[in-house]
């Protein structure tokens, strides 16, 4: 069905055919399930793992890229999802069914993440409270403010095909998985109201014990160590560049190198340029990626590097260096060689030759190795002359009493950026462009006719995610 703009109007059938919720659920479960040894190795508690899962699920929900409303039904039919029904349904279905909030996924109200976050927080708090509370409070007077009901949703009393609406007609939530303790929820007197989650401590306790027995990550966590610092972040899709991260790979795993090509939003035909830009973005957005990468680098590799002095003067970040002939004489023993290159262990003696050397040819390098070129090659004549503003701005010849001026020796005409031509549109520079990540089986071209075969794709288009296992494409260039 299409509207006047030719855009597809998603029907219920279309939603049901989209497998993203189940797939995303599987991805999250597989990642979380495989992280237990890593967390043990790093000495991080499982409460953090649970927090990570909750944050991840919250953000996936908040992105609204996938509709999780029908994942509840699919979760019951999917053995994998059902396996983690106890904890996994927190995001896919449990969060809805526990809170009774009918408008978690389908509304555009900005209260969605908050309501979800609040409900998730309460559900976590239930686990904690299960150890402290001895009696459950009644549900007769819900203390939580009622949420606005989404007008786009069907009426409250409609058949429960979406999300947590099913709880309306059921006094208890009985998962189909055998052995899973049933969650007895009090009847809802008002579908628009969030029930007090303090009435569920026994259920959560039973779920917790069940999950702990089955080895589900995040269950059996002591109540004191559980934290929930969620802050639901609404990701602006357009503001997030769609670049595959290049950082984060370690040599511990055998990987197919992905050196380039996933970061094409900027000009960079050279491999290093693309990689550099990619890393720059990653460092800017996720500084921990760079920190982790730097921490993995063996610092001993850098110990053998000789420091080459900067021969064209100090950078703008360093203070101006006065010429040696303006310094007071140093009371140092004369150096026989006169080269000034003496460095071999121990406390570094100051072996700069005294002032009998050509003053302008010897930059003060402290205890660093001096480059021979400094003693052989004299600087240009105009750099030697001290200038008082109007002449050269060379840092070597600059009078220390004169404040440093921005040097134009480097930033000269050679550094023109050809702005006269105006900004050029780069392919992929539009942040609003939709993106597809996939692998290719075949790419062929006949003249301007392209035929491609893609596999394992994740498409983000028009704010929604679409997944495909195999895709053919025909393009005209």
């Amino acid at each position: 069905m299409s509207n006047s703009d030719g855009r597809l109007i998603h029907t219920g059938l279309a939603f049901q055919t989209r497998p993203q919720p189940t797939v995303y659920r599987s991805i999250i479960d597989e990642v979380i399930g495989s992280l237990k040894p890593d967390f043990d190795e790093f000495g991080v508690g499982e409460d953090v793992l649970l927090t990570l899962q909750q944050k991840w699920e919250s953000r996936v929900h908040a992105s609204r890229a996938a509709d999780f409303s029908d994942s509840q039904a699919s979760a019951s039919s999917n053995p994998h999802a059902a396996q983690y029904n106890g904890i996994g349904s927190v995001a896919a279905s449990g969060g809805v069914s526990r809170t009774g909030s009918p408008n978690i996924h389908r509304t555009n109200s900005p209260t969605i993440p908050n309501s979800r976050g609040a409900s998730r927080t309460n559900s976590v708090g239930n686990v904690t409270n299960a150890y402290t509370r001895t009696s459950s409070s009644s549900f007769s007077n819900p203390p939580v403010k009622a949420e606005p009901i989404d007008r786009s949703l069907p009426a409250v009393g409609n058949p429960p095909s979406v999300g947590g609406m099913s709880r309306t007609n059921h006094a208890s939530y009985n998962p189909s998985l055998q052995g899973l303790p049933s969650i007895s929820l009090p009847p809802l007197s008002n579908m628009g109201a969030v029930p007090p989650l303090s009435s569920y401590p026994q259920n959560m306790n039973a779920l917790n014990a069940y999950g702990a027995n089955r080895g589900v990550p995040g269950y059996g966590v002591p109540p004191g160590g559980m934290t929930d610092n969620r802050n639901v972040l609404m990701l602006n899709r357009g503001a997030a560049p769609y670049g595959a991260g290049a950082a984060g790979s370690s040599a511990s795993q055998v990987k197919m190198p992905q050196v380039d090509g996933t970061w094409d939003e900027e000009e960079g035909d050279e491999e290093g340029s693309v990689s550099l830009r990619k890393r720059q973005w990653l460092v800017q957005r996720y500084p921990w990626m760079a920190e982790a990468r730097l921490a993995n680098v063996d610092t001993s590799q850098h110990a053998t590097f000789d420091i080459i002095p900067q021969v064209d003067g100090p950078s703008s970040s360093t203070p101006p260096v006065p010429p040696l002939n303006t310094l007071p004489p140093l009371n140092l023993p004369p150096v026989s060689s006169g080269t000034g290159i003496v460095r071999a262990g121990g406390p570094p003696p100051l072996t700069l030759p005294p002032l009998n050397l050509p003053s302008m040819n010897t930059p003060p390098m402290g205890n660093k190795i001096l480059h021979p070129s400094l003693l052989i090659k004299p600087p240009p004549e105009e750099d030697v002359k001290p200038s008082l503003g109007g002449g050269s701005n060379s840092s070597f010849a600059r009078n220390p009493n004169v404040p440093a001026q921005p040097s134009e020796d480097i930033n000269s005409d050679l550094d023109d950026t050809d702005d006269d031509e105006g900004p050029q549109e780069q392919p992929g520079s539009d942040p609003d462009a939709d993106v597809t990540y996939c692998t290719y089986d075949k790419v062929t071209r006949v003249k301007t006719r392209w035929k491609v075969v893609f596999r394992d794709g994740m498409v983000h288009a028009n704010g929604k995610d679409y997944l495909f296992g195999r895709c053919t494409g025909e393009f005209d260039w």
């Binding site: 299409s2 597809l8 055919t17 597989e30 990642v31 992280l35 890593d38 790093f42 991080v44 927090t51 990570l52 944050k55 991840w56 953000r59 996936v60 908040a62 992105s63 890229a65 934290t227 990701l235 997030a240 769609y242 990987k255 197919m256 992905q258 380039d260 090509g261 996933t262 035909d269 491999e271 693309v274 996720y286 921990w288 990626m289 982790a292 993995n296 392919p427 539009d430 462009a433 993106v435 990540y437 996939c438 692998t439 290719y440 790419v443 006949v446 392209w450 893609f454 596999r455 994740m458 498409v459 929604k464 679409y466 997944l467 495909f468 895709c471 053919t472 494409g473 393009f475 260039w477």
Partner: protein
Amino acid sequence: MSYPYELYRGSSVGIALADSLDALISSNEITPQLAIRIMERYDKAVCDVLQKQVKAKATFKGRLHTYRNCDDVWSFYLRKCTLKMEGGEQVPVEKLKIIACKHPDAADLTKGQKTPSKNADKDKE
């Protein structure tokens, strides 16, 4: 066969994970090294899950604005394309960027085929 590309980190679920890890690092609950490990786990998991669970077929049709191939990574920039899903669902997209890494089973067509030379980068104005 598993091919843990880092490609899918830019997807919705990958960005959600990265943001979650960023929040945990900011609160000093995990270290960046552990976050890197988690991202590597994600790379493997998303490839496995996509291979095993996603069987849907789709079709792209549209105008190719720019193409590029570098280091076995194809980039296609499409304009006014349509994604047709298997169930008949059609998604019109004004601008679409396709980033495709080489599948392990991909045929090597670099010889004897009329494929563009490596590092080809064409802009159609």
